[in-house]
Amino acid sequence: MRRVLSPELEAWRKEIRAFLDAELPPSHAFNVEFDDAPDRWETALEFSRKLASKGWIGLTWPVRYGGAGRSPLENQVLLEELAAADAPVVNSVGIFLAAGTILAGGSEEQKATLLPAISSMRTLWAEGLTEPEAGSDLGSLRTRAVRDGDDWVITGQKAFTSWGPMSDVLFVAARTSEEASTSGAISIFVVDLRSPGVTLHPMRNFGGGVQSTTFLDGVRVPGEALIGEEGKGWSYIMGAFYSSGTVEPIYSSQEARLQALLEHGDGAPEHGASASSDIAELALMVQAQRLLAYEVVGDNVQGRRTAYGGGVQQVIAKEYEPRFAQFFDRVLGPASQLTADAAGAPLGGAPEAWYRQSFANHAGGTSQLKRMVLATRGLGLPR
């Protein structure tokens, strides 16, 4: 089902696969979003550092900022292979959200110091956007940053902080103006998680891991902790989300799951119309996402702008992830509810975990939010 790429990109794919064959830990099952088991975390961190030493973290960033200056297509292939191999790469907040923001608006000094620290895995970032009363609606942020001499003093509460206890710094969105709008009122800061006034309270989640509630109680940060310009946080975040030139290749890990499912069923005596129907549905979901992803990446590379192709990609990616997990139940039947420690759990109990984790599909905005964005920005419907 994979798209045929140029010989150079296919050679690049082979190089990545060879690296993964050699370096991927034998027991690498690790949910990078949530897992906090110390031994698995150490394994993931060690693997991620090997990836960094190859120069494959921040692949598209300029070389002078610790990147490799490679193309978005090469990055897409890298991300596809990492996802297909279920490779435990940590620090996605730093690699995508923080780096995207720093590249878009950071000062030269910030780019020269913060980005190499990310690409070498020296600094791990936790996410500090969401608040108890501000999820997708960032305009409702209550966390405030107030100038005090050369410093800023930040006070507020953040919710669902992924990787909080394992990280070094927090990517914080804070209100620096009384304006109600998102444009012009929100600024981005990098906050050392060991600063006085920072407290993390663990919240266990349904996916099997931990996130945190993060309290910022008069946390004093230096002036250079402000990333980019004051009040431009919203546009930086949108840029980081939408202009990276790559698309999270969920389809690639889904195809690996589909392959595992087919192998699991291989040799079974019956493959009736019902099984074919379910497999075909899974295949359609994988291929639809892959086509839309390459459309978005191709458009970015060529400098084209589709009317709303990117919006469709986001809706589909959001909506297909839980549907994909649900379809495994249809194919595997009651055994799909068995946990990994149950005798006879199909595929080592992975479908049970996928199903639970698919409910984390709200991260970065729910499917409904993406549809509203498509309707209003893409189709021009009224708000």
Partner: protein, 369 residues
Amino acid sequence: MMDLIWGEDYDVLAEVSRAVFQRVSPLTDREISRDLADEIRELAELGWLELGDPRSAGSEAADLASMAAVFVELGRALVRSPLPALTTARDAALLCGSRAADDLAARAATGGVQVFPAFTDPAWRRPAPRLRDGVLTGTVLDVPYADAADVLLVEATENADTDEPVEVLIAVHRGPRMTIDPMPNLGGYRMSAVEFRETPVAEADVLARGPHARTALVGARQRTAILTAAQVYGAGSALLDRTVDYARERRQFGGPIGRFQAVQYLCTDIAVDAHLTSAFIRDAARIVDEGDDAGLAVALMCKQARRTAEQMVHAAHEVHAGIGFMVETDIHLFTKAAKKWVFDLGGCDERHDGVIHAEMRRQLIGARL
């Protein structure tokens, strides 16, 4: 890497097609009526009866990803045209690979002889006509423009020297030993049931036999499916425009209904489905144009396009509500056309699911069902 875009000549063909089809669109003039001979003459003059060559992967001929532009605009204007059927017959004839078939295709390209396909759609659950000792017997349903055809390109089976039926493609000239009965249908498409009553067939009119016939039929059907899906995409785009416009204008509860999320989601359903169909079309057309095995890509495309045809009209009716059910609005025109396309694309998922399942097993684990 091949980009996921339409063909090189797509924009040029789209511009011309839009001008041609909008002139005769029922969305512009509901009462419009055209003489079939005039239509075919115009198609010939435009060069659209010889547009693209199914045998010419990588040649100078317009590729399928460009040709699709004509059919997208055909769908956008909801024009019921003989072009899709003429193209199917032409493609099948060219893919036969015989001198007689090439000659027939060449004459059809000028509009001088009207060749329409009489292929057996499994959805009707009827066997193909049988050729025995030079005599053709059987019935084909849903034959487009059969009443106006000079020649029907018939898919049949014969038991020549083996026990297993062999597929044949035959050029059958209109004659007395066939009956053509109209099949009135929801979309108002010109289709007929054609019964061959011991119709004599000369050996020279058997254009392809066995694997050659199979290759021609599979190739023509794949290309036809892509061009049918292109019409669905075009119609979906037009329906989306109308539905979004209506959602912005229609006021209820003190404001435009388009501000309600429930209405927004119905509009985004059409946008998402239409755009997905477009992505699958571009992928399948690219694979066909490169001469690679397009079985999986076409099956996935049919599955998505068929679903789009069904769902887009449902969503548009939901947004338009009562007024959409009135014939004074155009929504029902899309609904009628969509019904035909659903069956042209396979009628149900099952038609394609087996292909997709088998291909997935072959590609992902190297096994065959």
